[in-house]
Amino acid sequence: MTDQTTEQHRIDLAPGDEGEGGVGLRVLGYVIGLGLALLLTATSFFIAGTDLVWQPSIPVAIIVLAIAQMGVHLVFFLHLTTGPDNTNNVMALAFGVLIVFLVIGGSLWIMANLNQNMMPMDQIMQMQR
């Protein structure tokens, strides 16, 4: 029995596959994930329309809630874990997240600078004449 379990852990898991557990446990995992996701979604929509909190904090709160909800989806629906059988999947995800941050952050940064350095539109129009 013991060498069976060590054998199982040496094998990698496909993304989306769970390590062990019966049907009841697996369904329970999805129920917990659904509950958490619904809670985070409801909080997001509530915060977006409320006057109860300091207004400039709302965009930050929405972004944080969105990242938290993506985490919930990854853990409870896609079953990404930190276990040794999941290393390849997590490394690929980390690389993907890096590229996503480079693309979005880089675009916003560059375009904000370009906007600042641009001549006002009417002056460009005059130069073209």
């Binding site: 369904v27 979604t41 997001s44 929509f45 629906f77 996503v100």
Partner: protein, 216 residues
């Protein structure tokens, strides 16, 4: 055929029968289910990178309304909330169908997939009526750079959902025609990954586009 099905679940896939040193020295290639799943995971991540380009475009162009309507005047958050719940529940039923496929229960698999399909179609219906409404109000994709970026981003997600529904119906038919063969099971696993990934992208869409955009 019985050898290849669920090879990942076997305690001893390479039939080493407890020869410990042999297991360390010659692990051999990973089972096909893992290779397929990992390859599809790479595809999904590249799809997410593609979406990040659309998000970057949207974020850069969000204020370029050319005197036209802003997001706060256009978005109907109640509709978006219903869309979100539809997609979230469909992700849940898709997970249930995936479990049913693993334990070879055809009835629950078809029920789960049918529920996923109905919820996905409800989502698409709401999105398409929203688009039609925007175009009818003169806020089509040609109105301003902001609306072009909006329609590209949200429309691209909608196209993915449409493709996902076609794939879903194919899987339902294949299970009826061929049963839970090893290759069919791998396709079901890939479909579940695809559908969950679409839900993750939608979380970013409703947060960044609709909730942040509805702020004046």
């Amino acid at each position: 055929m019985a050898d290849t099905t669920l090879a990942y679940a076997q305690p001893d896939p390479h039939r080493l029968r407890g020869i410990a040193h042999a297991a360390v020295a010659h692990e051999g290639p990973a089972p096909k289910r893992i290779v397929t799943g990992f390859g599809f995971w790479i595809f999904l991540l590249s799809d997410i990178v593609m979406f990040s380009c659309f998000f970057a475009t949207y974020a850069v162009l969000v204020d370029q309304t050319d005197g036209g309507p802003k997001g706060a005047e256009l978005f109907d958050l109640r509709r978006v909330a219903i869309e979100t719940v539809c997609l979230l529940l469909s992700s849940f039923t898709c997970g249930l169908a995936n479990i049913a496929a693993d334990v070879r229960n055809k009835l629950w698999f078809q029920l789960g997939m049918a529920a996923t399909c109905v919820l996905g179609l409800a989502f698409l219906y709401l999105e398409l009526t929203e688009f039609a409404d925007l175009v009818a109000r003169g806020a089509g994709p040609t109105r301003s750079a902001f609306l072009s970026a909006f329609f590209s981003l949200v429309g691209c997600h909608g196209l993915h959902v449409s493709a996902g529904i076609l794939w879903l119906l194919t899987m339902m038919a294949q299970v009826v025609a061929k049963g839970f063969r090893a290759d069919i099971e791998r396709r079901i696993m890939c479909f579940a990954l695809f559908w969950h990934a679409l839900d993750i992208i939608w979380v970013a869409v409703f947060s960044v586009v609709y909730l942040l955009g509805s702020k004046p």
